[in-house]
Subunit: 215 residues, 2 copies
Amino acid sequence: MTIRVLIADDQQLVRTGFQMILDAQPDMEVVAAVADGAEAVAEARRLRPDVCLLDIRMPKLDGIEVTRVLAGPGVHHPLRVVIVTTFDLDEYVYGALRSGATGFLLKDSGPPLLIEAVRAAAAGDALVSPSVTVRLLRHLAQPRRVPAPMADPLTDRELDVVRLIARGRTNQEVAAELFVSLSTVKTHLGSIFAKLGVRNRVEIAAWAWESGVVS
Amino acid sequence: MTIRVLIADDQQLVRTGFQMILDAQPDMEVVAAVADGAEAVAEARRLRPDVCLLDIRMPKLDGIEVTRVLAGPGVHHPLRVVIVTTFDLDEYVYGALRSGATGFLLKDSGPPLLIEAVRAAAAGDALVSPSVTVRLLRHLAQPRRVPAPMADPLTDRELDVVRLIARGRTNQEVAAELFVSLSTVKTHLGSIFAKLGVRNRVEIAAWAWESGVVS
DNA sequence: AAGTCCCTCGTCCGAACGGCCGATCCCGTG
DNA sequence: CACGGGATCGGCCGTTCGGACGAGGGACTT
């Protein structure tokens, strides 16, 4: 049962390099090597490989968009996709993994990791580059919400206001929902501004989301 | 610069197996191989290895407790710890990673993964077994729901505006940061209101936080 | 060449916001 | 009892926001 692999990268050297590494494995076979996202989609649909190695930076369609098409939600026969990129920017990582990728490799990874990533993807598992994984783990292991002990804590009433503000209510609506007058809401708002050290209601909302007051 | 490794596992065969694999690497050296958690702590403090391979199931102290002692928060000179186990139960995974481990390997992983995991840990990175990673990713990608595929998606420029708005910027400040006029910002705002179906900037912020556009 | 998006910019205007005063009431604590 | 803090109101004023127009240019598709 050989693993059939598709490679998509706009750099010729990368394509051939990956192909040589993978073809040297007895249980792997590169069935296509294309240079842009549109070709990747077409060939993937035609050849139905087990695993797709996709670069992020590609002409026409980038790797994340290709992933969304091939492995995203709602796809009937999703392919395993491993994103391979030079950049490890957070936006790429989360975008890729959200779009349905089952792997994320940096190009500075050695051949062993590439091979293991393909093998893992074929098995339905996922291998992520260690330098990226360490950041994912920090996000996972640090859900502790302690932004600032705040010298002057908000009162209960002020928190009521904060919660409604953070949901997009206007001062009028807050007043109505709390059964107080508009003036009262504005007074509370003033105290909140001072205590949080912010200048407008959107910053209150941002603080509320960050600190977990709303979710 | 050889990587000095400590192995802790209560099974003799596993210890020697790991030791043979790692000692075969030119850049690695096993400095100790112990059979229980108490010994692991003692030897780790005495020899100060670069990486510790810890089993979870061990007499006296289990691998997670050892990790907490050697690499947990508040430790002055934390060691890199890779947890190696036969079981991939979720409790173990999260417990291990929260306690400060920088790697999580299943014993069914091949030697290449073990070697890469040690190398990654020594470099301050983290490698997690693919079969475990895939579950971590699901946890990570799940809360990122897509409430509505949005018939009319935001353009790149509109997303720029959304991100700044969500951080509490005023229209003036957005205009300045994007090098456009106030009118342009307001026009974009209008499109965003229509597309998201919201009525004020705070609801934009709330949408941005919920959808993960900002974090 | 025509059409369609997207980005850009402008004006006018009413509503909402935020800052700054001050004020009353209640309920604790010292 | 006096004091302080929280919650509740009111008025005034300048700034910001948001809606509703119109309009030009650049890029891409047909």
